[in-house]
Amino acid sequence: MAHPIPDLTSPRWPGGPASAATPLLVGCGAGFSGDRTDAARPVVDALMAAGQPAVLIFETLAERTLALAQLARERDPQAGYEPLLADLLRPVLADCLAHGIRIVSNFGAANPEGAAACIAALARELGIRVPRMALVLGDDLMGAAHAQALQAACGADWPTARVVSANAYIGAQQIAQALQQDAEIVIAGRVADPALVLGPAAAWHGWAWDDWDLLARGTMAGHLLECGSQVSGGYFADPGYKDVPDLAHVGFPIARIEADGRCTISKPENTGGLINAQTVKEQLLYEVHDPAAYLTPDVVADISQASVTEVGPNQVCLDGVRGHARPSHLKVNVCSERGWLAEAEISYAGAHALARAQLARQIIATRLGAQGRLRCDFIGVASVLGDDDSQWLAQLPSDSSAPRDVRVRWAWEQPTARAAEVLLREVNALYTCGPGGGGGVRTQLRSRLSTVSCLIARDLVACGWRWWRAAGECA
C-alpha cells in the first residue's frame, strides 16, 4: 500500500495535536439505521489516500430506533444494537484498523456491549485482530434508580402504558476521553448525533469543554455530517431546479475540521452527488428551531451569523458559528407502548374512480363509527397532504377533471390488536359490499410506540465509558 499511515503513537490523540495546524478529517459512513451499506467504502478510500488523522462515523439512531432496539433486546439479550452493524463494517473494518482510522458511532443503540461482541466476531471472521473498543455508557435510564426523577420530569406527560425505553441524550466528552486513551472504535448508544464528530474534534485538537465557540463549531460540523449524504446531494434533487449527478452512487461527506473549528465539507473523488452552498444550507437548517440556540448536551450552538462559502468543486466551508454555555439539563426521550395501528388499502380506477373512492370512504366511516382515530387518504390525489378529519378530501371536485386512478388508504388506531383488526375486515369486505370495481386490497397490522421528551438535571445522569473485554477475559 502506497498510502502513508499517520503516526498514532504521536501525542495527538492523547494530549492534543503535535502541530496546531493539523486538521482532523471526519468521514460519515451512514446517516440513519437503514442507510446504504456500501457508502463507507469510498469514504475510507479517500481518508486512506489523504493520509491524515481521520475518523469514520456511523450515525444510526433516530428517535424511534432506540425503542425498537430495546424491544429487540428484550426478545434476545444478545441483540439491541444496529441490525446492519456487520454489513456496515465488513467492507471497511480491516482498512480502518490498518490505517489508524478511528470509528465512532451510536450503533451500540440499546446494547453497546452486544455491538462490541459483534465487531469482535466480525474481526475474527475477517482474520484480523480484535480492535481496542470503548463503550460509552450512562444514557440508558430504564432502571428503578431513575424512575422517580423521570416521572417528576415528565409530569402529566408520563405514559400510562408500559415504558419501553428511556434514554438521555449525552454529550461528546466520553467519546473524546476514550479516543485520547487510544480507543480504535468507540461504541455509544444515545449520544447527541453531532457528538459523534465533536468528540473526535475536541480530542484531536485538545479543545476545552468550556470553549463554547469551538465546541459549537465542532457540533455544527457534526450536524452537517450526521445525516450522511443529506449534505452531499442526497435528499436534495428536484429535476430541472436542483439537479444532482449520479445519486445512485452518491458520495458521503467528509469534514476537514481545523484547530479553530472551521470546517470544510467535501466528498470522495469519483462518486455521485453534489456539495454546494445550497446543499449545505439545507442541511445546516435541518431540524433546527431557533438558529441562535441549537441545544445540545455540550453547547448551545448559534448559527444566526453563520456563512457558507464554496471554496472549490464539491467543497464548502462553514464559518461564523458561535457558541454559548451548555444547558443545565439533558433531554430524555421516554418511549412507551401505544396500542395498535391498522392500515388497509383498496384501489378504484377508471370511470368515476374518485366518486367511488369517496363512497368507500363514507362506508368505512359509517361502519367503524366514532371509535378511535380514523384517517383516510386518496393515493393518486393526496397521499400525504390531506388532514386527519378528511376536510381536504371532502372538498375535492368530482367533475371530469377528477382523477381516474385512486387508491384509498385508511389508518386506524386501537388499543388492542383484536380491535384494530376490524378495519382490516371492513376494508376487505368492500370487495363485495362496497362500491363497484374496487380491487387490490392490502392490509397490515402493527404495534405502535409513543415518545415523550423531558429534561433532567445533568448530575442525575452518570455518563462514563469503559473498555470492552471479551466474556471471560480478566479485568
Binding site: D290, Q305, A306, V384, D387, S450, T451, S453
Partner: protein, 123 residues
C-alpha cells in the same frame, strides 16, 4: 429599486428548502436561489402566510427566523404533524413533504428579477 410590474410566480422558482421534524414540531427552511431574490422572499414569505398555507394542519404557533447571511428563512410550526413520527396516522409521519408543499405558495415578483429565477424564463 425594481420599478417594473410584478408577476405572480410560485415560490419554488425563487427558493428551495427542506423539512425537519422533532416530535410534533416541524421546521421548514426557505433558501434563496439568488441574492437578488432574497428581498422578495424576506418581504413576502411571512409567518402569517405560512400559517395560512398550512391552516388545514392547524399549527398552534408559527415562528419565523431570518438568517440574512445565508439568505434563508427558517419556519418552526408547532403541533403540525398530527402527533409526529410515532403517533401520526398520516403516511408521511415526519411531514417530509411539507417544504415542497410550501414552495407552491405564490409570490409577487418584479418582472425584471425573473432572469434570476429557476425554471422557464417565460412567466
Amino acid at each position: 429599486m425594481n420599478s417594473s410590474a410584478s408577476i405572480a410566480v410560485p415560490l419554488y422558482r425563487l427558493a428551495h428548502g427542506r423539512t425537519g421534524d422533532k416530535g410534533n414540531r416541524s421546521n421548514i427552511s426557505v433558501i434563496a436561489y439568488h441574492p437578488a431574490l432574497w428581498p422578495v422572499i424576506e418581504a413576502q414569505v411571512s409567518a402569517e402566510r405560512v400559517a395560512a398555507h398550512f391552516a388545514a394542519r392547524r399549527p398552534s404557533h408559527v415562528a419565523r427566523y431570518v438568517l440574512a447571511r445565508l439568505q434563508a428563512l427558517n419556519f418552526v410550526l408547532d403541533e403540525v404533524l398530527e402527533g409526529g413520527v410515532n403517533s401520526a396516522l398520516n403516511l408521511d409521519t415526519h411531514g417530509k413533504a411539507l417544504a415542497f408543499d410550501l414552495l407552491q405558495m405564490e409570490v409577487a415578483l418584479p418582472a425584471d428579477l425573473l432572469m434570476h429565477c429557476k425554471g422557464p424564463q417565460e412567466p
